[in-house]
Amino acid sequence: MTDAILPTHKLLPGADLEEADLAGQNLQGVNLAGARLMGANLSRSILIGALLEGANLISCQLIAADVRANLMGANLMQADLTEADLRGANLRGANLMRSHLHRTFLAGAFLSGANLMGVNLQGADLRGTDLRGANLSGANLQGANLMQADLQGAIVTEANLEEANLQGANLAGANLAGANLLCAELEQSNLDGANLAGACLVGTVKA
């Protein structure tokens, strides 16, 4: 389906919109739960309040889109989320592996249990995000702002957190084995029960 024009608030759960060109469309509040949107072009679209729970968004283009939406359990593998606005979005349990997150705005997003293995979030603003139990193994979080973020029980093995700001962050029970925390800001952060085997803590208050 290409060149689709979708009226807002239309209920389209489970719709088949593979490869659809929805660039720049106003899709505020649309119900696309479980929809198949593989490879669709949603760049610069407005998806505020949309229901995309469990949607298949593999390889979707969401460049500069406003996706402050419900994406719980959605599959965003290889999606291009460059400059997309995901502030406060519900991404619980979503799969973001291999997605492009350059200049993506995720402050306050709910990412508990999400799969963020190996993603590049260098310098990202992740203030106050809920990353409980998320998988950030091997992710690049160099210089990221994770103030007050909740990483309880998260898997952060071999991640790059060099110069990251983790002030007030909750890392209780997180697995940070082999992580690079060189010069990370750890003031008032909670590392109770965290696994720091082989992690580099040089230049931090904890070293």
């Binding site: 400059e83 606005d85 502030r87 200049r103 705005f105 402050a107 310098g123 990202a124 603003d125 210089g143 990221a144 702002n145 103030m147 071999e158 790059n160 060099e162 110069e163 990251a164 700001n165 002030q167 082999g178 992580a179 690079n180 060189l182 010069c183 800001e185 003031e187 580099c200 040089v202 230049g203 931090t204 208050v205 070293a207």
Partner: protein
């Protein structure tokens, strides 16, 4: 961190809870960055209005020997130069080492300072310092120990804060004491003499010129990196090295703005508070996030512009780029020195424009461009208003420390000039924010982590805004 090292001792003195001491934030520096940074700060000695005391740590004598010819010139413009390093062949024999005002300290092999890279410069009119320690082999994580010399990693910080330089020099002199007691006594006397002279003179070397030189040297290093052949040993890692250089260019500006804050005893937290307020107004206006980030960075850097003096300094034509009576000249506005420094970094072009137009007025009667209404860049309008509000608030807090209506009083002062000086819709947004404060809203005000300011730069900061100065 190595116990007994100077960085270790300084951090211990700045642990949270130490009275009057701000905790230190450390950043990561490649050797590549440190070379450019130190060369810039050292070369400022050549133009310094007064003669500094210079204490350095070079790790090994061979690193000093690479710089020894330059150090002859630096010594000629300094009171005293001290070189600490583990001795290598030729270390003491170099002609610079023989100079009367150059002293060498041959560090013992197990001295932790032999793992450190320091440059401390203290003069009555100029203070700068780089304080770093090299990473141990086991501290390099998965990416492994670097193969190229310029990729060696250090951690620590650098600063223009004279009090911190002096505090660190005291630690360095104490370290020199067992090696050379008479030199230590002489250095203490010289340092105290400089501190006195500093207190007595108002004059300082122009920080804008110093920062411009730092930017220039770091940029030259970037050009050098980008010009390397593709097969170079550095190739896979040049991006990290390049990022580290850009990060330090931003740091130079943030550190410059930080000094203005520290020198203002009545309003020492202006940069961070203005940034938080501007971001909040931007959120009320539903601005896109990249613009919020750009607004925040402009807020943190706004003190680069000499606003307090702007009313008198900016009389039209006093320092315009073009002569006023030249009818063929393109329309232009006077140059704002602080904003001009920002223009040396293309990545911050938009920030420079925003700061240049902070003093415009909604009515069109402002400077430097006589812009009116929506022709004034939105972020300049927001920041101009927020700066005024924050200054009023700081004053009210001084005058009525117990009043519950401090924010209302500061708002009323801004409302007096609505439509004349300020954009009415922005004053409305500010009023909304103030009513939030009255009901208990609190804004998180965080001093920037200067070593990692890079996350804000990537937000259309290089855009060309509408700007009449071009």
């Amino acid at each position: 961190m190595l116990e007994g090292s100077i960085l270790y001792q300084l951090r211990a003195a700045h642990q949270p809870g130490q009275v009057g001491k701000r905790p230190l934030n450390f950043g990561v520096y490649y050797k590549n960055t440190l070379v450019a940074l130190c060369h810039a700060l050292e070369d400022c000695i050549l133009d310094c209005q007064s003669q500094p005391l210079v204490i350095t740590a070079f790790q090994r004598g061979k690193w000093y020997l690479e710089e020894a010819d330059r150090y002859a010139d630096l010594a000629a413009h300094s009171q005293q130069v001290v070189i600490m390093a583990a001795p290598d062949a030729g270390f003491a024999e170099h002609p610079t080492s023989q100079r009367e005002n150059v002293e060498l300290i041959s560090l013992q092999a197990d001295d932790p300072v032999a793992q450190e890279w320091h440059l401390m410069i203290l003069a009555p009119t100029y203070a700068a310092m780089v304080l770093c320690q090299e990473l141990m082999a086991e501290d390099y994580s998965v990416q492994g120990v670097p193969t190229h010399d310029l990729e060696r990693k250090f951690y620590g910080f650098w600063t223009f804060e004279a009090n911190l330089v002096q505090e660190t020099m005291e630690l360095a002199i104490a370290h020199i004491q067992p090696y050379n007691p008479s030199l230590a006594a002489q250095l203490t006397a010289q340092m105290q003499h400089i501190a006195q002279a500093q207190a007595q003179t108002q004059g300082r070397d122009d920080l804008g010129t110093i920062v411009a030189r730092v930017i220039d040297y770091l940029q030259a290093s970037q050009v050098d990196l980008n010009g390397r052949p593709v097969q170079s040993a550095l190739d896979p890692h040049w991006v990290s090295l390049d990022t580290n250089l850009v990060s330090n260019e931003v740091q130079a500006f943030l550190r410059m703005a930080q000094l203005t804050d520290q020198a203002d005893q009545l309003n020492p937290n202006a940069a961070a508070e203005v940034a938080a307020l501007a971001e909040a107004i931007g959120q009320l206006l539903n601005l896109p996030v990249w613009q919020l980030n750009r607004l925040r960075l402009a807020g943190l850097l706004h003190r680069l512009a000499p606003l307090q003096q702007s009313q008198t300094m900016l009389t039209a034509g006093t320092f315009g780029r073009y002569a006023e009576d030249d009818p063929t000249a393109a329309p232009s506005c006077p140059l704002i020195p602080g904003a001009q420094v920002l223009r040396t970094m293309p990545q911050l072009r938009a920030i420079a424009t925003i700061i240049t137009h902070l003093t415009e007025q909604w009515s069109g009667n402002g400077q430097p461009g006589n812009l009116a209404g929506d022709a004034i860049p939105l972020e300049s309008r927001i920041l101009g208003l927020v700066i005024e509000f924050q200054q009023q608030l700081a004053q009210v807090k001084q005058q009525q420390p117990d009043s519950p209506d401090q924010a209302l009083a500061a708002l009323a002062a801004c409302q007096q000039a609505v439509s004349d000086r300020w954009d009415p819709k922005l004053v409305e947004a500010l009023a909304l924010l103030v009513s939030g404060f009255q009901q208990g809203l609190q804004l998180p005000v965080n001093s920037p982590k200067i070593s990692a300011g890079l996350w804000m730069v990537d937000s259309h900061c290089a855009d060309d805004l509408y700007d009449v100065t071009t």
